[in-house]
Amino acid sequence: MYTMPIERGKIREFALATHNDHPDHQGEDAVAPPTFLTIAGLAWEPADESPLAELGFDLERVLHGEEEYVIHGHLPRAGTVVTVEARVAERFEKDGRRGGRLRFAVIVREFRDDAGDLIAEQRTTVVETAHAPEKT
């Protein structure tokens, strides 16, 4: 379990980086954009809580398959501090089209506010390919 502050300046930076100039993401009570919580796993998650590390996948063969955000209530605002719990929720395998096995994992992060209420969930599906990613 770890915390992440939802910060006005970071919301502004992230919105502009995604070409999102909506006024909801500006100002003191700026609302986080829908994928903003991706920052938790990338910049705030302690190494010993990382589900990706726990999976033991070969990172050179890992692709990002899907991503989902479920928002309970509404997206968090600047000034909130969220508590994050990350876990591997599912693991499964499929045969690859080019032979070999594809290993899938779904990583779930739950975000709670300071009252302990669940405000958002992130589901990240990653795939370890059987071979190195196809070069196009």
Partner: protein, 143 residues
């Protein structure tokens, strides 16, 4: 950019397509900017020698960058406070120089008590015609 307030009379109908928007051409600098904003410093997305040594023609975009663009397009529709779910599936890579055209189509509209729930199907398509990302979003709109 004209930001729509939640004035929804009339409510969109199932099957209706929302106004598309094209972003880009997306540059290496845009990718770097998103890398800094999100905390993803995987060199495959910004380090040219690293990417070509790994067998790629050049650096390719962070998937969550095009997801973030699509999410911004979603926010443009009815405002950030209305978004309840956002899902993306990564289909093909996006490269520097690409344009991304985001489109949405209403799939369901449900009204109950004092709110409306809209579901949309989303696409982010490259200028080549290839689909970079597909997805869905759910909105909850006040009366």
């Amino acid at each position: 950019m004209n930001h729509a307030a939640t004035d929804l009379t009339p409510l969109p109908s199932p099957g209706e397509e929302l106004q598309p928007r094209t972003y880009g051409p997306l540059t290496r600098t845009d990718i770097v900017r998103y890398a800094g904003a999100s905390g993803d410093f995987n060199p495959i997305h910004h380090d040219e020698p690293f990417a070509t040594a790994a067998g790629f023609p050049t650096v390719f975009s962070i998937g969550m960058y095009q997801a973030g663009i699509l999410a911004g397009y979603v926010v443009e529709q009815f405002g950030a406070a209305t978004v309840r779910r956002f899902t993306v599936r990564f289909q093909e890579p996006v490269y520097p120089g690409d344009e991304l055209t985001c489109q949405a189509r209403i799939t369901t509209v449900a009204s109950a008590h004092d709110r409306h729930r809209l579901e949309v199907e989303l696409e982010g398509r490259r200028q080549t015609g290839g689909l970079a990302v597909t997805g869905t979003a759910v909105f909850e709109l006040p009366e």
